[in-house]
């Protein structure tokens, strides 16, 4: 009986350890291989789709958001018109709990945990979001969308102030 209990414990630990390994990372650069700044062609390869624009290159709008699936996870992807590469990846987000920051913050985390975890970095707290700005260049950010002080979506995008300035 003791051996069976030990075996079950071991199996549980192994299961959770492997589940952790399948996690995806959100950083200031992007989410996994989806890096801010990559061109349309590379993005199509990673998403395994052909992107057909409704606005970029068609009307005056220079940004566009598309819905896509990346490794089975639903994502929203922002693209910005770029003369050399048609369009470049300008931001992305997901409601999936599989994506987490390197510190383990993801969907379901609460506001206080974010504040405590990133107390040495710049946080911008607004009604709907908490933005973690990259302290080194204040150019990129990880954004947590909040509802009732809990993260409901997570993403990576340029800091709004810097996006406007460019």
């Amino acid at each position: 009986m003791k051996k069976i209990t030990l075996l079950i414990c071991f199996a549980t630990v192994a299961f959770f350890a492997s589940a952790q390994g399948t996690g995806h990372t959100v950083s200031f650069d992007g989410m996994d291989e989806l890096k801010i700044g990559i061109g349309k062609a590379e993005l199509e390869k990673l998403l395994k789709i052909k992107i057909v624009f409704k606005h970029i290159g068609i009307d005056e709008r220079y940004t566009e958001t598309i819905k896509a699936t990346y490794k089975g996870i639903d994502m929203e992807i922002d693209l910005m018109r770029s003369d050399e590469i048609v369009a470049r990846l300008d931001g992305m987000r997901t409601t999936s709990p599989l994506f987490k920051t390197a510190e383990g913050i993801g969907v379901g985390a609460d506001q206080q945990t974010i504040i405590n975890t990133y107390e040495k970095q710049l946080l911008i707290i607004d009604k709907e979001t908490i933005t973690l700005a990259d302290a080194d260049n204040l150019h990129s950010s990880i954004v947590f969308w909040m509802k009732n002080k809990k993260v409901v979506a997570i993403g990576s995008e340029p800091t709004a102030a810097f996006r406007d300035r460019e």
Binding site: K120, Q121, L122, L123, I124, I125, A135
Partner: protein
Amino acid sequence: MRNLLLYLVVTLVLFSCTQKDKKQPEKKVEKSEYTITKDGIGELQIGMRDTELEKLLNQRFTFRMIVDSPGYWQDTVKAKYKDMDVSLYFERQSGDSDSTYMQLSGMETSSTLCKTEYGIGIGDDRSAILQPYDDRPINMGPEYEQVNDTTWAPSKTKYSVNVKDEKWDREIVFHLVDKKITSLAAGMIMGD
């Protein structure tokens, strides 16, 4: 059995009451001449001219930076207001026909007399700031210190929490050292 049921009901009612209390937002304390808001402290209000302030404080200001370097458009003056030491931040503004005047753009104090309308003051913890200003945009992070002529780095001890108004026009700034408030400031939010 009946007693047990009664006990359970009373416990439940008491529990729900305490939960309700916890959810209530911080209550505002009565405003006084020591209360700091995004607009100023007491009668010291952002936007006032230097001449008005000189009259109010019964003090003559000397704008040293402006006198020494005519190109400067900002200056700071130390003053006393209702037993509080305050730093007054001024900006040069254009008046009529090429004239200029100095306008109060912000102020800061480390006086324990000064508190926000929620009673937050010097010595309070960072966590005390967030709850009452729950519905306002907040920027928080380490302050940057100059390491040498060309490099700035985030401080290990100094931190600031900027509580902005809805229009991102004015703000209250809480300066902290080792997670405790050491000074309170009110000011205009500078544009890019």
